[in-house]
Symmetry: C2
Subunit: 144 residues, 2 copies
Amino acid sequence: MTAVRTDITKRLRQNGFRATPQRLAIYDALWNAGSHPTVAKIHSYATKRDPTISLATVYKTLQLFTDIDLVNEMPSIDGSARYDPEQEEHINLVCTNCGLIEDYHLEQMDEMKSAIERATSFKVNMQSIEIYGLCSKCSHKTKT
Amino acid sequence: MTAVRTDITKRLRQNGFRATPQRLAIYDALWNAGSHPTVAKIHSYATKRDPTISLATVYKTLQLFTDIDLVNEMPSIDGSARYDPEQEEHINLVCTNCGLIEDYHLEQMDEMKSAIERATSFKVNMQSIEIYGLCSKCSHKTKT
DNA sequence: ATCATTGCAAAAGATTTGCATGTCC
DNA sequence: GGACATGCAAATCTTTTGCAATGAT
């Protein structure tokens, strides 16, 4: 699975925004601060490269990236958003026990999308499908 | 579509909890404070019946209801959780523009569940599937 | 009467905002 | 040089927690 990272400098300028070092560092962190990182993780990682990057800048930047579709903000159940830089169509399998998020690619999802759109006139965003449940580790443990 | 409300007094006692007026009012609010209500909506509605119910009690009660599977806490993208008292299997179509949440029932979802479980060993909770996109109203408007 | 539950107020997180300073183009 | 971005600190919002008072069983 070769995820394709956008040329972010170009992308920013195309949209009329400046390519600042903070933005580059934050974009880098999105891919390297772990899978589907939280804001805190992103900040902590970006800070390694440039210790002065502030949390507020991280928030503002993620907002901006979301606006220009460089990342997807993921809904959260624990009060802290996570971000997904992956551009290929996929759905997220989210473990409600340990928080693990697993990407899942399947053709079949397209059929489901069409079926929903035929039946409801709701316009499905494939980038934003979250399915909750238990990852294999957690489903093998005893219940809480 | 006749949604079946649980006998909540019985359900609470079966689980060893007291059936207090606050809990009954909050359960009632879950069904009547609008579709997939936020905590604020639930509190505001419950308060009509009993003006002294505190927000903290609403939070504690929703926590409890979630624990004994009387409701499902929904992940959120705007920082305020929503609750879904519906027990029948369904998925939620969430409009990322206006926040509308539409229930969707379809047999086909079962196939998808099985396909995912066959392919990944992830255990899908059908009660917790959220698909984001645009409702029909919002998809007909011009973009932001 | 007992012990779970409530309400209040304070605390803890997460995110946003205003504004002076710094810096990309 | 000038507009845009950043960083700081304060503000806002949501949710959690501790504890004394209350009330369900």
